[in-house]
Amino acid sequence: MQEETLSPPKPPERRDRVVIRFAGDSGDGMQLAGTRFTETSAAFGNDLATFPSFPAEIRAPQGSLAGVSSFQVHIADWDILTHGDEADVLVAMNPAALKTNVRDVVPGGLILVNEDAFDERNLEKAGYETNPLLDDSLSGFHLLTAPMEKLTKIAVKDTGVKGRAVLRSKNFFALGLISWMFNRPTAPILEWVKTKFGEDHPVARANIEAFRAGFNFGNTTEEFHHTFEVAPAKLPAGEYANITGNQALAWGLVAAAKAANLQLFLGSYPITPATSILEEIARLKHFGVKTFQAEDEIAGVGVSLGAAFAGHLAVTTTSGPGVALKSETLSLALMTELPLVLVDVQRAGPSTGLPTKVEQSDLMMALHGRHGEAPLPVIAPASPSDAFAVAMEAARIALKYMTPVILLSDGYLANSAEPWQIPDFDALPEFDISYTTEPNGPDGNFLPYARNEETGARPWAIPGTPGLEHRVGGLEKEALTGNVSYDPDNHELMTLARAAKIAGIADDIPELEVEGPDDAKILVVSWGSTYGAVRAGVINATKEGTPTAHVHLRHLNPLPRNLEHILRSYDKVLVPELNTGQLASVIRSAYLVPTATLNKVQGAPFMAHEITKKIIDMTEDPS
């Protein structure tokens, strides 16, 4: 199909932003449709943010509510912060998709359904007593229906695709229709199909034909009188890529290894939603990267610790249940003072919980989930693309301070995508890391626990270095020599030295910058993946007459030096979190500052309006 053959849509309505959600059965290819739409919008120059949502089941029964998979994309002609609270457009491929998603559509929003799927069986599976396309229940929306299956069948009939496979292309029909409606360039999608399946493969042909049919259906059908235009965003000039948090993390780790001039070693055991970091890095063998799929999480962190001892930039990736298993080894890494990055892509807990859903509830475990006095640095990315920089920062701290570092990402960041302004890789800062190769002791001996005066870090002398033979281990170490020591005073000294080393990192991280108007009385403090929604919520609150300030923490331990001052500069402090108040309790304990909290534990990210509402409620609350 050539773009030219499609007649141009009618004069479009201009919009500065639109949120579109594709929803269907897990088998309907909604993630693919969403991703393709996203990529073409990115290429077109919109700013965007996405939010894929999968069922927890491998494959829940077809047509069931549990089996619904959705992909939301927010496109705009300006710099956006979230994937959008509510959808302006919902594509619903079956009744279950409609049922579970309709509540998130803005009043008056557009709902496009695949009417062929609204048969009795599917309606029953979704728990509809009457057909919502026929009753009044959708009267608050702008409903459009298309016989997507019928039209797809017709479109693909000469492509060589047969039987059950025919209907697999119906997502491309939907994609074609939506592409038409939003005036998207079609070339990137068609190119992708050809590259993916091979130009002449029947599947490629079927998808292209279905896409074309969808596009034309919009163009020619009276009902679809209306198209939209969302102009390219005025993003800072530069090159962009659309990346998810897990990709950004993977690349950030590779970049960190390069910056440190070290080899990257990733020991890991698959677990949702962290697995794709391992999968991504496993593809990068040409960077000299070593990945090891271990027998379990304990071995995953164990091999990494061994690699760290031997001089690699060592990383282990997991989610909450895996962190629990790794904590004993993490404690050994802390005692042996070896660099190690532990990535926890948080999911909803406790126990197996809701493995595919987001939560920020591992913060306390990251800070305190080890026996003994075992403080560690903890940092968290604010958005998918921020994960790149945060991965580098985690590695920087680990290597400079010879310590394990915990990086807290989450299931939302893991899979959501946004445009990332690609840095100039050659200009990225180099880490000034070098192994110790010469004795550092007074008598020409080697003191593996003599500390760097500035950082408190001990030297990194790797096996194979002549003359620096030494032993590390989990028993308390004597200062300087690193020999086993049962001396009471030494234990206290070392406990405090380890703590001081971590606390001292506060001098090596930027002070916080508050965003917001000078007359703000309320300060909102956030961390991690809630950044976008909180930022948007704060901006809205300010617009709606409640001037509000916002500060977002990348570093959770140690906390930035100026946090206390900032906290004390406002009348009220609000800490919104996807947990029951973990950062709030840290702040209360550290500074004795009262906090209001907004907590959500539903396996779902905040919506900006939830933040706005809470802020406005607080101003009305006399206390």
Binding site: I298, F309, V472, G473
Partner: protein
């Protein structure tokens, strides 16, 4: 070409005071290892000893090499990381019957199947020494200890059988008190490319004294030590009057005179099929009668590390000068002017 005089045992002593109970078999093994390394004449800094927790696991502190006294049971995993990070090193794992077979069982069997280049020495004293005498996964059924006052009800592992079940490429057994044999096993393990597993019977004279008496006692040892030597018939006894036959009903102890020398099995640890090795491992279940000592199995299989490095080299060749920019641009990018 070796410089005969480069190292002596003292070069491998770390200067840390050795803190095992007087009379402990661990001293003997330490001496055997130190002497062997001195004789081996490989740069001292190329050796890394990784251990878990237990009396045996104190070992690295006493070696003037690189070392890590890690946490309970995890040494095979940590050592795997060291070995994969730097293939130039010789990585030794020191573990105990509790450390290696109880809490660490999983890492051990996975290391063995993967054939990572590790030398694993399992000091089997059939007891938890460091925690002061509880039964271990190799303690005999009915053993009375503080946690089994009425006798243990746990059927023990035979570490050699277990290792063969994982398809380990090198499986051997030796005895602390038999220093020449220990040295032979160390040498063979050192020379083996892949995971080498040596079970070392080790006397804990405080909590499980004389567990190996029949193999170490002056009176008993000749009648009970069955040395396995490649290419030789398996005979033993003061005058080699006893022998071992191997058949489908198992390996059996026989009088050579009664069956004739031809009926005696000739040992071949290099057999690709581990079946005979397995049959030999069943000859004794713990040191309660004549017990085979030596290399049960030694075969070649590509190591995990070589395969891993091979893939990396190949990928590098295919993508010479790969840069992160390339990586990102392959993924699809766009420009904003």
């Amino acid at each position: 070409m070796t410089t005969e005089t480069r190292y002596s045992r003292a070069d491998f002593q770390s200067g840390q005071e050795v803190k095992w109970c007087p009379g402990c078999g661990d001293y003997t093994i330490l001496a055997s290892v130190q002497n062997f390394l001195a004789e081996l004449d490989v740069d001292r800094e190329k050796h890394v000893f990784v251990s878990g927790i237990g009396c045996a696991s104190r070992f690295p502190y006493y070696m003037n090499t690189y070392g890590m006294h890690s946490i309970h049971g995890r040494a095979p995993a940590i050592a795997t990381g060291v070995a994969l990070a730097n293939p130039d090193l010789t990585v030794w794992v020191i573990t105990g019957d509790g450390d290696g077979l109880s809490i660490g069982g999983n890492h051990l069997i996975h290391a063995l199947r993967r054939n990572v280049d590790l030398k694993i020495l399992l000091f089997n004293n059939q007891i938890y020494g460091l925690t002061k005498g509880q039964y271990s996964p190799t303690s005999e059924l009915g053993k009375r200890t503080k946690t089994s006052p009425a006798g243990s009800v746990d059927h023990p592992f035979n570490p050699v059988s277990l290792a063969l079940g994982t398809e380990a490429t090198f499986v051997a057994r030796t005895i602390d008190m038999d220093r020449p044999h220990t040295t032979d096993m160390l040498r063979a393990a050192y020379g083996h490319k892949g995971t080498a597993f040596i079970e070392i019977y080790q006397n804990c004279n405080v909590f499980n004294d004389k567990a190996f008496q029949i193999l170490t006692g002056r009176q008993e040892r000749d009648a009970n030590r069955i040395y396995l030597e490649a290419g030789k018939p398996i005979v033993f006894g003061a005058d080699n009057e006893m022998g071992v036959t191997v058949g489908l009903d198992g390996a059996k102890i026989v009088k050579v005179a009664e069956v004739g020398m031809d009926a005696i099995a000739v040992h071949d640890p290099a057999k690709p099929n581990p079946g005979v090795a397995f049959l030999l491992s069943r000859l004794s279940h713990g040191p309660t009668g004549p017990t085979p000592i030596g290399i049960f199995r030694q075969v070649q299989r590509q190591t995990y590390g070589d395969l891993m490095m091979g893939q990396i080299e190949e990928a590098k060749e295919r993508n010479a000068n790969a840069s992160i920019s390339d990586l990102v641009s392959q993924h699809g990018t766009w420009k904003v002017e």
